[in-house]
């Protein structure tokens, strides 16, 4: 009973032992009586709503346990209790009767002998009386005559009369047949013969036969033995009947009930008396009732355990130290592995037909190590177990995640539970997502590089590639059956196309061209009439891929399709041209200035990634949005914008945008946004950099500006003085008090200034505008609002 399942414990442990609960459940399940598990599983198997059952493959008959485990009546060669009791009684009675009879016989015999002796004494007395006169007168003849008269008595075997003082008998009578009888067969009596005066005359000796007494005694003895035997048999029969009624029959009923109980049948034995058997029957009935209730509770617990297992969605098998599966397994396991008890677990995971020799060897070594160590070492050993396997069968390929649990871990592990989770679909989705992510990342990466480089190289690549594909089509049209020179010509076109595609990270085009090169490689060795068709399909597909890449580029470029029309011109040559036309008319100079303009996006293309990086470093969540409106900026401004944006954005991240917590506390979205946009006006192009942060800390700037820029009465303008930081604590991104001053200097050199609008808790807007007579001073329109 020490391994019995305690149903009172189960709910408490299920709720408290969350980790490893499966092993606990399994252990509890295993501790259930085998017959019960079999019975319940068999019973539930008919219920189609239970998809996950133990012993579900070959359930045992529900009624009886295996014959070997079933209790059987004990076969006794000594017969039943009644028979043994009767025999014992008979033997005992026979012994006692025999002793009694023998004793009675002895007494009877003694009595007979004594009676005979008395009778003989009487005869001797009478004879002595009658012989006395004759002997006194010495009449020997008369003595002899009287002695001879004794022959009338057949029992007197011998009579001898001895005269006083005579050595020889005076008279003697002897029956011829009985003179030498044995001592036990006769008795002798001696009686004196005296005269009336009392003088002793002699004596008479009689020897008397006991034959008649012996015959009578023999008859009596036979009668007594017969009676004793009859008494013993009667007594034994009576005892047998009583024992059968009082002991054997009730015990037989209890035996039958015990067998029924062992078979799981509801049993009760009748209680007819209040003796020991009656009390035993009552106790048995109570026990049967308790067992039945207990089995019901266990069955209920079993169903609950099975329900839990049903929802785990794992294929579960158990294997022993030899790596062989035990009987316990889930229905899902039976469906996936299909093997029964005794099969090798390594064969299930890595069938020899799969050729996974190393995996098999490693798994077998792991099983050996797992069972060689104790339970404490299992945690370490399990790290060396395979955690996933691709399970191949004729009609399916499953990806399984594997987990291992030790069962009954004592000093040495006895069994290991293997839980296999089908993750085929999950892995497929993960791979698909990862592939898409990679493709997307590659496209974005390529496009960013293209955009930052101006795009004209990509435009040239597209144009050249389309021309190459045109050449290929012409070759294919001219040579329906590809000859060697045509193959070589095609090879050259594809080879160059592949190299160029690789430069632009166009992996799909590169892969397709590689395939086509393989086809051409084969056609080099052996001309194939179908080769033309295959290559033509490839060319068409490449044209589609090329168009796709071009569309991606155009979609990503702020200038749109116009980006394909871009041309890179060296700044030095443009400046030389401007210088050479210094004295030319204004219209020509304006045209050249226009020609020298650069797209704003050239200065912003790499900023989104940089902003994300800077924000992460500052522990904030910031996104940069660049409004793609195709604005072009003067070349002088374009030359400094990179550095200016860097200063302004780092400053905005460092102290303009709040932390996520602060923003959420202020009712703002957790992610701060910085926007860059371009505005065209009569005065020229202005650039707007705005954030939705907390705005400038005017008091802090004023405090730090003291003594540095005493003439600067506006705090915001003081922020652009060198040495005045807009942030209280100097950090990695900003705080040195140099960035904004440097930005202003850069902009001034390009003929631009900064207008600031800062609104408390709403954000800051920096407007980079061309210098003119009206806006050379820094103005803070938002300052008033902040102070209010």
């Amino acid at each position: 009973m020490s391994r019995g399942y305690d149903t009172r414990e189960a709910p408490r442990q299920l709720s408290t032992r969350k980790s490893g609960s499966l092993v606990y459940l399994w252990n509890a399940f295993r501790r259930l009586p085998k017959r019960l598990i079999t019975e319940r599983a068999g019973g539930l198997q008919s219920d189609q709503s239970a998809p996950f059952l133990l012993h579900s493959v070959t359930p045992s008959p529900p009624s009886l346990p295996p014959a070997s485990a079933r209790p059987r009546p004990i076969t006794s060669y000594g017969g039943s209790i009644a028979t043994r009791l009767a025999l014992g009684t008979v033997v005992l009675v026979a012994l006692v009767t025999s002793v009694v009879v023998l004793e009675l016989n002895r007494l009877e015999w003694d009595r007979l002998v004594e009676s005979k002796r008395s009778a003989a004494q009487m005869v001797a007395l009478v004879m002595a009386g009658s012989l006395a006169p004759a002997l006194d007168f010495k009449d020997d003849d008369a003595v002899q005559e009287r002695v001879d008269g004794l022959n009338a008595n057949p029992e007197i075997l011998q009579a001898t009369v001895l005269g006083n003082g005579k050595p020889e008998p005076t008279a003697q009578y002897r029956k011829p047949s009985g003179a030498d009888c044995a001592a036990d067969d006769c008795i002798e009596v001696l009686h004196p013969i005296v005269n009336p005066t009392g003088d002793r005359l002699g004596s008479i000796q009689l020897r008397v036969s006991l034959n008649r007494e012996r015959e009578a005694f023999g008859q009596t003895r036979r009668n007594m033995i017969a009676l004793g035997a009859i008494f013993s048999l009667g007594l034994a029969s009576a005892l047998v009947l009583i024992a059968r009624r009082l002991l054997v029959s009730p015990l037989a009923r209890l035996e039958r009930a015990a067998l029924g109980l062992a078979s799981g049948e509801p049993v009760a034995v009748p209680v007819q008396r209040d003796d020991e058997i009656g009390r035993l029957s009552r106790t048995f009935n109570s026990m049967a009732q308790i067992i039945d209730e207990r089995e019901r509770r266990i069955a209920a617990s079993n169903r609950r355990l099975q329900n839990l297992l049903d929802h785990m969605g794992q294929a579960i098998v158990v294997f022993d130290a030899q790596g062989r599966l035990t009987e316990e397994h889930s229905r899902l396991a039976a469906r996936i592995f299909g093997a029964g008890a005794g099969a090798l677990v390594v064969e299930q995971l890595y069938p020899a037909s799969d050729g996974a020799e190393m995996e098999r060897e490693a798994f077998q070594a792991w099983v050996e190590a797992a069972f060689a160590g104790d339970a404490a070492q299992f945690k370490e050993i399990v790290d060396l177990a395979p955690r996933a396997v691709t399970f191949r069968r004729a009609d399916q390929e499953l990806e399984l995640d594997l987990e291992y649990r030790l069962i009954d871990g004592g000093e040495h592990s006895q069994q290991i539970m293997l839980l296999a989770t089908d993750v085929t679909e999950k892995r497929r989705l993960e791979r698909s997502v990862a592939q898409k992510d990679r493709e997307h990342e590659q496209q974005l990466s390529a496009v960013r590089r293209l955009v930052s480089g101006g795009g004209q190289q990509f435009a040239g690549f597209v144009e050249h590639s389309q021309r190459r594909l045109g050449v290929c089509r012409e070759l294919l049209n001219a040579h329906p059956t590809l000859d060697r020179p045509t193959v070589e010509a095609l090879f050259q076109q594809f080879h160059t196309l592949r190299a160029e595609a690789r430069c632009f990270d166009l992996a799909r085009i590169e892969a397709r061209v590689t395939q086509l090169e393989s086809v051409l490689q084969e056609l080099r060795g052996e001309l194939d009439p179908n080769g033309n068709h295959d290559v033509r399909l490839g060319v068409d597909e490449l044209a589609e891929l090329l168009a796709e890449a071009e569309q991606t580029f155009v979609a990503q470029h702020p200038l749109g399709a116009a980006a394909l029309d871009q041309l890179t011109v060296r700044r030095s040559r443009l400046l030389s041209l401007l210088d050479a036309t210094r004295h030319s008319d204004a219209a020509l100079r304006a045209q050249i200035q226009e020609l020298a303009k650069r797209p704003l996006v050239e200065s912003t293309a790499l900023l989104p990634e940089a902003v994300a990086r800077w924000a992460q470093r500052a522990g904030k969540n910031v996104r940069l949005e660049v409004e793609p409106n195709g604005i072009e900026v003067p070349h002088a401004l374009a030359g400094v914008l990179g550095g200016v944006f860097s200063h302004l954005l780092r400053n905005a991240i460092a102290h303009g945008i709040e932390s996520e917590t602060e923003r959420q506390a202020a009712g703002k979205p957790g992610q701060g946004i910085v926007t860059i946009s371009g505005v065209e006006s009569e005065d020229g192009v202005s650039i707007r950099v705005a954030d939705d942060g907390r705005g400038f800390n005017v008091e802090a700037i004023q405090a730090r500006a003291h003594g540095v820029s005493p003439g600067a009465h506006l705090a915001l303008s003081a922020a652009f003085e060198s040495g005045v930081s807009t942030i209280v604590t100097r950090g990695e991104l900003a705080g040195a008090g140099v960035g904004l001053a440097a930005a202003r200097a850069e902009l001034t050199s390009a003929g631009y200034c900064i207008r600031i609008t800062s609104t408390s808790d709403q954000g800051t807007e920096l407007l980079l505008t061309p210098m003119s007579g009206t806006n050379t001073a820094l103005v803070s329109a938002g300052l008033a609002a902040r102070k209010a």
Binding site: M358, A362, A365, P386, A388
Partner: protein, 134 residues
């Protein structure tokens, strides 16, 4: 999934070495590489797995293997020696050649990672199961 371990790769191609090293390091393995079999023994100590190319100039993998095993045994190092080749016929006979295993699909980095993980597990398990030294 990955089991930490130290791997020595011997191949005459620097390109293969660089690829294998880069890929295995991404899986957090400690990787040593050499294109010179002579002198490779100094990497053997504390090494769990040796990945060996077979066709190398001047010396084939079997000779290198024999030499490494001899030197390894004398220094107490007992790594597993795995053949790394794309030659399928050669792969099948790895046991006869004296290797503990073979890594298939040479050039397929993902397959390499999976196989190295298995090989390292095997190496650690063999060490665990080995009788303790006197």
């Amino acid at each position: 999934m990955s089991v930490a371990g130290k791997v020595l790769v011997i191949d005459d191609s620097e390109m293969v070495l660089e690829r294998v090293k880069s890929r295995l390091q991404r899986e957090s393995y400690e990787v040593a590489t050499t294109s010179q079999p002579v002198g490779a023994a100094r990497h053997l100590l504390l090494c769990d797995l040796v990945i060996l190319d077979f066709h190398m100039p001047g010396m084939n993998g079997q000779e290198v293997l024999r030499s490494l095993k001899m030197l390894g045994a004398s220094s107490g190092a007992a790594p597993l020696y795995f053949l790394y080749t794309s030659d399928k016929v050669l792969s099948r006979g790895y046991r006869e050649l004296g290797f503990d295993g073979t890594l298939l699909n040479k050039g397929d980095d993902e397959s390499l990672v999976e196989q190295v993980a298995v090989a390292l597990r095997l190496a650690k398990l063999r060490k665990k199961l080995a009788p303790p030294k006197e």
